[in-house]
């Protein structure tokens, strides 16, 4: 059930460690004492319904949000004291981030290169995400899939050790989604750790080495997708409908072709 890759991970090497993370807002508690580790070079999925606290957790690790209490280290740096060090080694794709208006992709790349303090060739970065043909286009003029790939390109500028992707495939058609999976797998192959949130369980099953289920600010399960499925079956779960060897998405891909189209 894992056709894409099978990389061994160093289980002892946690690159992110979260301990007893709590985040209170004025009237409610978004995160209630989360603890988990993300291992070096794995793809780690945070799953759960909307409002479960996934994005809040991510943003606290990304140093974009203050935590109420708890300990977080990212590659040995504490979010409390070394926020700027952390920012330099991570890449962040936000759920709905916008980009500076009126600039084309190359100019945006130049801007981010300046913000990260790195020297890069914008065209090379765009080639990495297959957007070289759109170099002179404005971000607004891109399709959903292209926007996400551009977003990911901006997270790779500083050759980060970890990238965070918050619902990168939401709203994309099946082809664009698969295209993005390939990109994410490619990024991991180059040694980058990936932390991703998604609402698509097939995606998590395909991509993630381990997933954590978050519900009402707490982790209710954390394991490899395989183990979690086995555990469910061991509890006597049965699907109400006999599963066929293909599903409707397979039909969709089969009928409309695999290659991804722009637009």
């Amino acid at each position: 059930m894992k056709p894409y890759y099978n990389y061994p991970m160093d289980r002892n090497n946690a690159i992110i460690s979260v301990r007893n993370l709590v985040k209170n807002y004025d009237d409610f508690t978004a995160v209630k004492g989360l603890s988990f580790d993300v291992y070096e070079n794995e793809i780690f999925g945070l799953l759960g319904p909307n409002g479960a606290g996934k994005t809040t957790t991510l943003e606290i690790i990304e140093t974009l949000r203050e935590k109420t209490s708890g300990e977080i280290t990212v590659d040995g740096f504490s979010v409390d004291h070394d926020a700027n060090e952390i920012k330099r080694i991570i890449g962040v794709q936000l759920q709905a981030a916008g980009y500076y208006p009126n600039l084309n992709l190359v100019e945006l790349m130049e801007l981010f290169a300046g913000l990260y303090g790195v020297n890069i060739k914008p065209m090379e970065m765009l080639e990495k995400v297959n957007l070289q043909d759109k170099a002179k286009a404005k971000y607004k003029a891109l399709s959903g899939g292209q926007k996400q790939r551009f977003s990911i390109a901006t997270t790779l500028l500083n050759s980060p050790k970890i990238i965070f992707l918050d619902e990168p495939t939401t709203g994309l058609d099946p082809q664009a989604r698969r295209n993005l999976w390939d990109l994410i797998v490619e990024i991991r192959k180059n040694g980058t750790t990936v932390v991703i949130t998604t609402h698509y369980m097939d995606e998590a099953e395909q991509l993630c080495d381990r997933v954590a289920f978050v519900e009402r600010g707490e982790i209710i399960a954390l394991d490899t997708p395989d183990n979690l499925i086995d555990q469910l079956l061991a509890r006597g779960f049965e699907r109400t409908k006999e599963v066929k060897k293909a599903n409707l998405e397979d039909v969709f891909i089969n009928l409309t072709g695999k290659e991804w189209r722009e637009g």
């Binding site: 990304e62 700027n84 330099r88 936000l94 916008g98 300046g114 913000l115 303090g117």
Partner: protein, 363 residues
């Protein structure tokens, strides 16, 4: 990776991006360049002619006489000929013309001509000018061959620098251009960067908040200075805007522009902080810019305003920018001579930035 992070590089990258963005934004270009330019063109072509009084010549009036000849040579008088009596009466009632004159030969030899003049109550001020012009003219015509019995006026004019309309209008328009680009531009940019999460994405990079503000500020100042130079150059070469010390005067004006713009950007930061939605930015910005546009001596000298209005005018920062600009450009004074105006702008700046720090929102 171990290289220290370069904040200057980040600031300049932001400034460059912002400058490119402003140059491609139609509203910024319209407000900073087109809008002031239109006013400068309008007032430039109206020229420095001063007051003109329209005086109609009644149909049937004698045209070949010294009175009409003298009137034709009077700069203040614009003779309106070839109008019917009905048209003239109508325009008199509306006050479009200040009076009508009918000259005819006298039936007796002395005086040779009689001139009937009708004024209108609809244009009293111009009527009075007309009256004194006519009196003056008749006096000189009648006394041409006489020796004065009491006293004779010996007139002469000191030749000073010509103060044209453009010398008043251009600094005002420049000030207004700085005001609108400072307030509207800054407010819109920071509001929309915040709203579209552009700033949030910036925060995921090691950039400092001060670099974001500074980068944006640099871009806006660069753009506004470009606009200022453009306006001054057009004014100087097409409408003879007076620049007493040439380039030095321009540089002084640019220094004033930067001071003014920084103050006005403070208003922009405040607006971006208190605006609840994009559509509330224009009304709030207008509350700040319109009174200054009207009351800060952009079009008229505030000395002509009613006495009760003048203290309000004298409270506004644009008043002092306009005032300083005019003194620097036309009177050629140095920046030290307008230190009072600069001081008041700086005080405004301190006040508005203190407020901006309180209300400005990053997310």
């Amino acid at each position: 990776m171990n290289k220290p992070y370069n904040h200057t590089k980040a600031t300049l990258a932001l400034a460059k991006a912002s400058f490119r963005s402003i140059m491609r934004s139609p509203s910024a270009v319209v407000f900073t360049l087109a809008f002031p330019l239109v006013f400068i063109l309008v007032f430039g072509f109206m020229g420095g002619g001063g007051i003109k009084v329209d005086l109609a010549v009644a149909p049937g009036s004698d045209m070949q006489n010294p009175v009409i000849k003298a009137l034709e040579q009077t700069a203040v008088i614009n003779l309106v000929k070839d109008k019917s009596t009905a048209e003239i009466d109508q325009q008199l009632e509306k006050g479009n013309i200040a009076g009508v004159i009918d000259v005819h030969k006298n039936t007796v030899p002395q005086p040779a001509y009689l001139a009937d003049v009708k004024y209108t109550s609809a244009s009293l001020d111009k009527g009075n000018i007309l009256k004194s012009v006519l009196n003056n003219l008749m006096y000189s015509l009648n006394t041409r061959d006489l020796k004065p019995s009491v006293a004779k006026i010996k007139e002469s004019t000191v030749h000073g620098r010509t103060y044209r309309t453009i010398d008043f209008i251009l600094p005002g328009q420049l000030g207004f251009s700085l005001l609108s680009t400072g307030v509207f531009g800054t407010a819109f940019v920071f509001f929309s960067l915040r709203q579209t999460l552009v700033i949030k994405r910036f925060f995921a990079t090691p950039v400092k908040r001060s670099s974001i503000i500074l980068g944006e500020g640099l871009a806006r100042i660069g753009f506004a200075l470009l606009g200022a130079v453009f306006i001054i150059v057009i004014g100087h070469f097409f409408f003879h805007f007076t620049l007493i010390h040439g380039v030095v005067t321009v540089l002084n004006m640019l220094v004033l522009s930067v001071i003014g713009l920084i103050v006005f950007m403070g208003f922009g930061f405040v607006v971006s902080g208190i605006a609840r939605s994009e559509s509330t930015i224009p009304p709030i910005s207008n509350i700040i810019t319109l009174p200054q546009f009207l009351l800060s001596g952009t079009f008229f000298s505030i000395d002509h305003f009613p006495v009760w209005l003048q203290p309000i005018s004298r409270a506004m920062p644009l008043t002092y920018l306009n005032d300083a600009m005019r003194q620097v450009a036309f009177e050629g004074v140095g920046l030290w001579d307008v230190k009072l105006q600069i001081l008041i702008m700086v005080i405004w700046g301190i006040g508005i930035y203190a407020l901006a720090v309180k209300v400005f929102k990053w997310e």
